[in-house]
């Protein structure tokens, strides 16, 4: 056994690819069979990751989730900030300012309002529940944007891992809520034109949730909403660890 664990730790990154693939395969199955595709496999996979980290933490009493289990150390690299930020930056490809100009000022306005309002609401809730330092508050506010903006911000500001975990969990809740809620609320908020889908994507962000929710509403709307949602992540990663963090420091002092 000993030599197998040594082997897995030595080839950590490759083994992490394998295990992550299994988690995602399993989650896709749950998505299809238990939720009939209503909750996207990606949201379930991320949730599964958190669940595994929880049980690993109970078992090892460590701080790094399943990376603390012998043989699984490669997760520290695959799930670390370097690969994460690299992959996030790559999602910006294909985004074109020419298209966002088509929605005009209102698309840009919805993006800024979406990020700032989510952030502010998240911060207020966290503050009301007893969190007081600027780094943690900013990270949780960023988590209210998406499950990506939260950890990116948390790492940039040096927030603790449990605060980052809360920001991911909040983002996952948001993603699932948007996925399920979009078709239900669509008639009441006038979500039926490409224009309105772009505004919706800008307000909500969370690309996976917006895309899945719009697909259940009207598949024709997906590319419009997904496009502004992609800008949302970029804007969130730009604003949260900078201007919004400074605003928090000023307010708290």
């Amino acid at each position: 056994m000993e030599y197998i664990i040594t082997f897995l730790d030595k080839n950590g990154l490759v083994f992490a690819f394998l295990v992550t693939g299994l988690i995602m395969y399993f989650s896709e199955g749950i998505s299809k069979t238990l939720t009939r595709g209503k909750i996207p496999g990606s949201a379930i996979s991320i949730f599964m990751g958190l669940v595994l980290a929880y049980f690993a933490g109970l078992e090892t009493l460590g701080k790094k989730g399943i990376a603390d289990i012998p043989g699984f150390s490669g997760f520290d690299l695959l799930g670390g900030p370097m690969f994460r930020d690299f992959a996030i930056v790559s999602t910006a490809m294909g985004a074109s300012f020419a298209i966002i100009k088509k929605t005009g000022l209102i698309g840009v306005l919805s993006l800024f309002l979406g990020v700032i309002i989510s952030f502010a609401a998240g911060v207020i809730i966290a503050y009301a529940m007893g969190i007081t330092d600027a780094e943690s508050l900013t990270t949780i506010g960023a988590g209210a944007c998406t499950f990506v903006v939260g950890p990116v911000t948390g790492t940039a500001l040096g927030a603790s891992s449990d605060i980052i975990a809360i920001s991911i969990a909040a983002g996952v809740v948001k993603s699932i809520l948007v996925t399920i809620g979009t078709p239900l609320i669509a008639p009441y908020i006038g979500l039926k034109t490409p224009q309105s889908a772009m505004i919706f994507g800008g307000l909500m962000g969370t690309t996976s949730g917006t895309a899945a929710g719009l697909a259940a509403t009207d598949p024709k709307l997906v590319p419009y909403g997904a496009m502004t949602a992609t800008f949302y992540t970029g804007l969130g990663c730009l604003m949260c660890p900078s201007v919004l963090y400074f605003a928090m420091r000023i307010i708290l002092n």
Binding site: F47, S90, S161, C237, S242
Partner: protein, 119 residues
Amino acid sequence: MLLRGVALLAACFVSGQILGETLGRLLGIQANVGGVGFAMLFLILSQNELEKRGLFHLEMGEGVNFWSKMYIPIIVAMSSVQNVRVAFSNGLLALLVGIIPVIACLALMPFLSKLAPKD
């Protein structure tokens, strides 16, 4: 060509992150100020510029595309290395932060739709 795409992505990543780190230093805080956001901005700008000059090869795009498809798996790996055991005691906070801001933003939707130009 494939690697040129990955290299372009890496160039945007490195310059964006260093800009973020430098900004943090200049502002006197121990933080990376918007590095990932700058990197994304650089990627959009450089891709648009290369396309305009006809220098953006399809295969270059595939080099970047691979990483954007790895995005969710990497986020899954990331969520599995967090200190969830300690965060769990704050589960209610995560739930509220996931729900209330969505409702706040939804409330704005009809208002913004009215402002939108009709097509």
